[in-house]
């Protein structure tokens, strides 16, 4: 056995799966960005159910209700924003309002009502999730704080500690020891 590293583009993977599944079932569609998809009208209910079930195997859910869809669009926009190598220069509230073409106060209120968190905390959580991945790819804290637009390494470390209760180095040590155990077993 040989260990091979993989790199993947999650958005592309999702789009490809969606397209393949829709084509297999012969449903007409158009894929938009940010997790939106336009499906032909009048898809028979059993066919729609098959599509939903097939997609669930890949962890893809078709959302029905409007608030749920809005929450997902907000989350997708945030994830896409945090996944870039430089965060937008404009204020995040302006950026989200512009991308979603909606008033920020409204977006923010709906988000808090439905998710047990706030947009601000969700962004922090997603940034720390990305920081974890970059840490495990052996990037330095200086590099990570630059990519995630933190003003300093101290700011990044402080936020990391706040979200996980652990320092970045303690986090890394735990994950690498887990991998060692998994490897020897």
């Amino acid at each position: 056995m040989k260990k091979t590293y993989i790199r993947y583009d999650i958005n592309r993977a999702c789009q490809t799966i969606l397209q393949e599944q829709l084509e297999e079932l012969g449903i007409g569609y158009e894929v938009e960005d940010l997790g939106e998809i336009i499906i032909q009208k009048n898809v028979p209910a059993p066919l729609f159910l098959t599509l939903r079930n097939n997609l669930q195997r890949y962890g893809i859910d078709l959302l029905n209700d409007q608030k749920g869809q809005l929450i997902q669009r907000i989350k997708n926009t945030i994830i896409e924003m945090v996944g870039r190598d430089k965060l937008p220069m404009s204020k995040i509230s302006c950026y989200l309002a512009e991308r979603l073409q909606m008033n920020y106060n409204y977006i923010s209120a709906v988000f808090s009502e439905y998710t047990h968190t706030s947009i601000e905390n969700y962004i922090i959580l997603q940034k720390i999730e990305r920081a974890k991945k970059l840490l495990l790819q052996e990037l330095s804290l200086t590099e990570i704080s630059y990519l995630l637009s933190y003003s300093s390494v101290a700011h990044l470390s402080g936020q990391f500690k706040k979200v996980t209760g652990l320092s970045p180095s303690a986090f890394k040590k735990i994950i690498s020891e887990r991998k060692k155990i998994a490897y020897t077993n």
């Binding site: 968190t117 994950i175 887990r178």
Partner: protein
């Protein structure tokens, strides 16, 4: 969508008083949750093994010293099975020793909570844990690197 899905919590603790405190704290948080309590490690593991993957609790609070007679220890028994790879495990302990905490995380726990002496602090800690765990659940974040210490 996310609001409609009910949060399911399980607790395994052999101390009756601790179980009651936990239940009271959860009740006082006023969240819409389903709580299942276990006093024996074996009962917990039988329950988990018998549950369908989609019906597993969203989070399991497990006393660090919970004994199992059938298995070596609960945490490593659960982590041996891929069926439970997305089950969040919060270890609930009186020990605040760094050595114990590190060992527990390496052993597969996602969350480490030092049992607080104060009821209000307990409520606050549980709320924090449930909130962050819910984000991991609803956003499909990587449970493999989900670590939280409080």
């Amino acid at each position: 969508m996310e609001k409609e899905e009910k949060m399911h919590i399980a607790l395994a603790d052999d101390d009756l008083e601790d179980r009651e405190l936990f239940r009271d704290a959860i009740e006082e948080l006023g969240l819409d949750v389903e709580l299942t309590l276990f006093s024996k490690g074996d009962e917990l593991l039988d329950y988990l093994h018998d549950s369908h993957e989609r019906k597993l609790p969203h989070i399991l609070f497990l006393d660090l010293n919970m004994l199992c007679t059938k298995y070596d220890d609960c945490l490593s028994e659960i982590r041996r099975h891929s069926k439970f790879k997305d089950l969040s495990i919060a270890i609930y302990s009186t020990s605040g020793a760094e050595k114990d905490i590190h060992k527990t995380f390496v052993g597969g726990a996602n969350i480490y909570i030092k049992k607080p002496n104060d009821f209000e602090v307990l409520k606050q800690s549980l709320h924090e844990v449930l909130k962050i765990n819910w984000q991991f659940h609803t956003s499909g974040l990587d449970k493999g690197t989900f670590l939280f210490r409080i």
